[in-house]
Subunit: 204 residues, 4 copies
DNA sequence: CATGAATGAGACTTCATTCAT
DNA sequence: GATGAATGAAGTCTCATTCAT
């Protein structure tokens, strides 16, 4: 298995042990509960540290969430970047993005849950480092689309932003059922179906 | 203007005035804040009633949210059903669903916000009346797709569930920026773009 | 005894019982401890209410302190105003102010302690209602001095602000030992001594 | 300029650098905030050392405050003693004490703030070294007064303790506005005004 | 001489909710 | 149909302090 979900994969060098324990604890707890119903007491207990320590390393309970998300996102980013690099055609790159994103979400549900459900309705998330990574990811997709149009792989009358929207929306919606109801997803099939629709169109 | 956003459109007019005031108060407050940071005290103050009264009419703070959502959803449902009825071709129906959904969300941001951001991460929402309406809406789309396939308008090798996913995902993702950042959306253009992609495909 | 210290003497009409209990509780506790080492838990327990109730009626723990102080100050103000009214000569009025202030502080040590020790180093006190009363009191003294100068009772080359400073400073310093160490004060003697110095001067 | 306020004037130069940095840090921070809202973290950060080091040199956060106060007080004491020595008449000595005290407080507001606002409501201050210096200062005034009476410069029916109270109270009250609101003080004028009142009396 | 990690006790505060009237 | 008073449980966060290295 190429992708790990077990622990927050951080550039773990200089982080003090307590900080790592706390981040892992939140990650673990979010497998079962939503962020709001996890208390700092829970986190501390799970991490085996005192509540106070959380506030040594994190401004906030929210800040902790964002840093955890950020950690997950970096792993995701590295992984997806490597996968894309193996492709030359734009359409293939998009295909890979769709499949890999679905896979990442499937493998790391905590990551998916945070990104898709928890974080979006708090405005200060959009000023966090974690959101910066989303922007990079999102930008990458747009660039690939533009290259595809330039290379004549994609029709010129396709609006790049709209296509990105459709791609991201499809990915996210496909994951929702998974995240919310815990359904298993047949990633190969789902991603193929999505690509079939988006690339070839549904109309006869 | 065909669609109203001002007040919760309560289908049964027989609601006692206090109940209406409370529901409107929440609706109003959610234009600015997210549900979690709205307190019952806020709601009562905005409604001009006492906190206690909320619990006369609603089991719960959440129950209040669901009832408000439900009110909005019924308006939405009526509106969209009427629009679809005017079309005969499946593809046109889907086109209308996309456009009308986008428009409804745009016109009534509170509705969009509740549905897209607030409600999804609380498990008991999925047992609420409000969610039943979502299922009807969702079912309708699936039926139209199947009819489209049967009628030869849509390619047979398209997976109906996947198509629904792509459609819903596209709609929702297109609204997110609106809901979160308050961006204006050019609905005609956006829906046309989306349809262009989904129906014709992007690949040359 | 004309002056009561037992309870916060408030225009107690419309105050809910819980609010009164809380204010009295703080007053009582401050007889023994300083404000900072009194916890909201202490206050609630003493008042026989829950901690939460404190925040129904007071913005803050500090706000509670200011409101209590304000209550005490109103009693003080009423009392002193009545006493002054009985005098015609400015010098006699000042004499009465000195004596009565000393007496008030002596009788109500909580009041003295709050005013002289607790409140002065927190900047937002100076925007509280309680401080407004201090300003009135202070203004009154200044007015009496000016009248005394106009009436020829007080030397024209005396600076009114300076005289007020000397008077207030003398009063407060005289009380400090009382407040801090719990010394008894012979008010008649002390006030006479102070007046002797200020009015007649110490130089032969 | 005869009087320095910049740094804690440490009488023994043999203090280790860390200790000096910490004391200076507190001094500096107290120019803006009150003691209670300065945290050990603030102090350490400002000093450029770690929190732990504070407890190498000081028993307590309070102990640190007292030692800082003590440093300031020694400078003050040296300065005032020298000034007094230049006078022969008791009245002149008192005059000098008033003026010099006002000046010292004006020049070193942190010193004034600590002495006048911070320290008085914590009982263990009165067992600290810093308080011993206050007692010496206070005793000096009393001695001068007694000598003045013996020498026939001051009326015999003046109570020495009361006079000291009036003097100290006047000084302190004059400084309060300065310390609290940051008002500038015209020391020559203020001290002259005070002396005018105390020495000559205000009554015609 | 100094650091850095961690603690622990408790502080203040919030808020949904209940109930007598 | 509505109010107002009060609850209680929990929640987040703060900070002085300790100790091994």
């Amino acid at each position: 298995m190429e992708l790990e979900q077990k622990k927050v994969c951080l550039p773990e060098k200089s982080f003090p042990p307590g900080k790592i324990k706390i981040m892992n604890a939140l990650s673990e707890l979010m497998r079962e509960k939503d962020f709001h119903s996890i208390t700092t007491a829970d986190i501390a207990a799970t991490a085996g540290v005192t509540e106070g320590l959380i506030y040594k390393y994190f401004k906030d309970k929210k800040d902790l969430l964002y840093q955890v998300l950020n950690g997950h996102f970096q792993t995701f980013q590295h992984y997806i970047t490597r996968k894309i690099a193996a492709q030359t055609a734009s359409v293939d790159k998009l295909r890979i993005i769709i499949k890999t994103s679905l896979k990442s979400y499937a493998v790391n549900r905590v990551f998916a849950r945070i990104l898709l459900l928890e974080v979006r309705n708090s405005s200060n998330y959009f000023e966090s480092d974690a959101y910066d990574m989303v922007k990079i990811y999102s930008r990458t997709i747009l660039d690939i689309i533009s290259q595809g149009i330039d290379a004549g792989e994609i029709r010129e009358d396709v609006d790049p932003h709209a296509l990105r929207q459709v791609i991201l929306g499809s990915i996210e919606h496909a994951c929702l059922g998974e995240v919310i109801f815990g359904k298993e997803l047949d990633i190969d099939k789902v991603s193929e179906n999505i690509c079939n629709i988006i690339f070839k169109g549904v109309q006869k």
